[in-house]
């Protein structure tokens, strides 16, 4: 039985990473090796040319920078707004808290395409088309429901006596939040911020619609439109390198923080 279950798990793990592995190996192949029929599995003469071309002849550095700025700022903004709201909710009446958290759940369930056109109108009216803030604001808002949800349940576990003590020492509510509650919640804040970062990095539809200049594109849209869906010749090597380069930050996050990410995900589902 143990052997059997171990075999199943190993099979699933292999299935989960094999496609990524194949792209990693492909990204190290030369153009001539890539178009060989039948394809080779391992690169026979590994080269970094594909990555070099991405960052020198294509605006990949720019995509990268855009994605980092947008994902980092939106995740910061989201965690900031969410911790204020979650702290308020935590100390609010239970009936009020229940109404707010269930309406947040409904908000989280709305398909993003419902928001697409009016948001586009707003972004255009604000002159934010092709501007990072045109995505930062929507992303931070879209991440709020899950973030408030996670932080409310975490703040609720902090003993109230600590806050009473802070109040006796003359700290205001805001000071209590900043000096007592937030430092104690560092792990939850990190988890929430990370999930918000991953979401923002991965978002496609809004990024595709709101950013149409090469200089403003995010990396997800950059790689997806690099794909030769619309052109005749498909740049396989660049595609493979693009897939790996755009996924690398996320894969690193997963390896380092997998326990936190899982905790955050499952808490969101079970609370």
């Amino acid at each position: 039985m143990r052997v059997f279950s171990r075999a199943i798990i190993i099979l699933f793990c292999v299935l989960a990473v094999a496609p990524i592995g194949w792209h990693f190996f492909s990204s190290l192949k030369s153009p001539s090796e890539l178009t060989r029929i039948p394809p080779t599995l391992l690169p026979q003469d590994p080269t970094l040319d594909n990555y070099r071309e991405l960052f020198t002849r294509r605006p990949f550095g720019g995509y990268y920078a855009n994605s980092f700025v947008i994902a980092a700022l939106s995740s910061l903004l989201c965690v900031g707004a969410a911790s204020l709201a979650a702290y308020g909710l935590c100390r609010a009446r239970a009936s009020f808290r229940r109404i707010i958290t269930s309406s947040l759940l409904i908000v989280a369930f709305f398909p993003p395409i419902v928001l697409l056109f009016p948001l586009y109108e707003l972004v255009r009216a604000a002159g934010l088309v092709n501007h990072p803030w045109g995505l930062i604001l929507p992303y931070s808002a879209l991440n709020l429901p899950l973030s408030i949800w996670l932080l409310t349940s975490y703040f609720g576990q902090i003993p109230y006596e600590l806050e009473e003590a802070a109040a006796m020492d003359g700290l205001s509510r805001l000071q209590t939040l900043v000096k007592i509650v937030l430092p104690l919640s560092a792990p939850a804040l990190a988890t929430t911020g990370m999930l918000a970062f991953i979401f923002a990095w991965n978002e496609f539809m809004f990024a595709l619609t709101f950013m149409n200049l090469e200089s403003a594109k995010t990396i997800t849209v950059g790689v997806a439109t690099l794909s030769g869906a619309f052109t005749y010749e498909i740049p396989w090597g660049l595609l493979a390198a693009g897939v790996i380069a755009s996924s690398l930050p996320l894969i690193l996050l997963v390896i380092v923080f997998q326990r936190r990410i899982v905790a955050g995900l499952t808490a969101g589902a079970s609370k």
Binding site: I8, C13, I20, P38, G88, V107, P111, L144, F204, M205
Partner: protein, 301 residues
């Protein structure tokens, strides 16, 4: 004479309300207003013909939906995609969660491996799988040819049936880990002594699953099932990048059709009616699921 000012208490600034402002403003601007605006626009014509000024047309867009075979087609495709891929994810996720059960050793590595597909951007996953399914250079054909399962390369994304299957495989690859992790958390929340009680009553593995694991798992199943159904029904990235809705509209899901209606045909009023109709369908589905799964669960106790 002393003219006394009325004694005014320094007005305590209502900090509690202030705490909600940043989140409320963001959600109002990015979520609430667009939902209202889309609903309003769904009752208007707003297109090139009207110089993009909304003109009230009553329920005309909804009438058009009732006779739009492309819309019906996209609904059928989306429903088929949702049912098949969610069923597969749950079957695989549940099997995996039950097998892993209380696995302790190497859990960190297992989790990193299984989480990897879930964290990658869906649009990138589409690029990744489109290449795997490519007829000339795709690794799938190479493997199948080597194993002599097939004898000529198959153009997976060029045939309606296999294109849909390819998208489903990519989606199942991405989301099974999520379902697995949520269900695993559910299984781990079951108190161990309940299993012992069943054992003492002479119950086997099936009794344990039916009377202990399953009731505890139901709320987790409900949440992840609802979440997954709504997400699959709104699927856009994967289809848009992998097949663009093709071949010949065979994989065009509702979100892809609505996106085209908005951004390509610039028929804003009609696109709005489409997405509102989809939201109504989803709300009804979520309600039915709630009745089926959670109401029964509540009766068990």
């Amino acid at each position: 004479m002393l003219s006394r000012e009325p004694i005014r208490k320094p007005q305590a600034l209502n900090l509690e309300a202030l705490f909600y402002w940043p989140a409320a403003m963001l959600l109002g601007l990015v979520v609430a207003y667009p939902i209202l605006r889309t609903t309003v626009l769904s009752f208007t014509q707003m297109s090139l013909h009207t110089a993009f000024q909304p003109e009230f047309t009553g329920a005309q867009n909804y009438l058009r939906l009732a006779f739009d075979s492309r819309f019906h087609n996209s609904l059928t495709i989306t429903a088929a995609f949702t049912i098949i891929s969610v069923a597969l994810e749950f079957a695989l996720g549940l099997c995996l969660a039950l097998t892993v059960g209380t696995f302790i050793r190497g859990r960190g590595i297992i989790r990193s491996f299984l989480l990897a597909p879930w964290t990658l951007p869906t649009a990138i996953i589409a690029v990744l799988w489109a290449w795997i399914f490519n007829d000339q250079y795709g690794v799938l054909n190479v493997l199948l040819l080597k194993m002599s399962v097939i004898h000529t390369p198959i153009a997976w994304l060029a045939e309606p049936g296999s294109a849909m299957a390819s998208i489903i495989i990519a989606d199942v690859w991405k989301t099974t880990p999520f379902v697995f992790l949520v269900l695993l958390a559910g299984i781990q929340s079951v108190p161990r002594d309940l299993y012992e009680a069943i054992e003492m009553d002479g119950g086997g593995a099936w009794a344990k699953f039916r009377y202990v694991t399953w009731p505890f798992l139901l709320p987790f199943v409900f949440i992840s099932l609802t979440f997954r159904i709504i997400q699959s029904f709104a699927i856009f990235d994967l289809v848009y990048v992998m097949t663009g809705g093709g071949p010949g509209g065979a994989t065009e899901t509702v979100s892809v059709y609505s996106y085209q209606t908005y951004m390509r045909y610039l028929d804003i009023g009609y696109g709005s009616a489409q997405v509102v109709a989809v939201v109504i369908i989803l709300a009804v589905t979520a309600y039915v699921l709630y009745q089926l799964l959670l109401k029964r669960y509540a009766r068990l106790f």
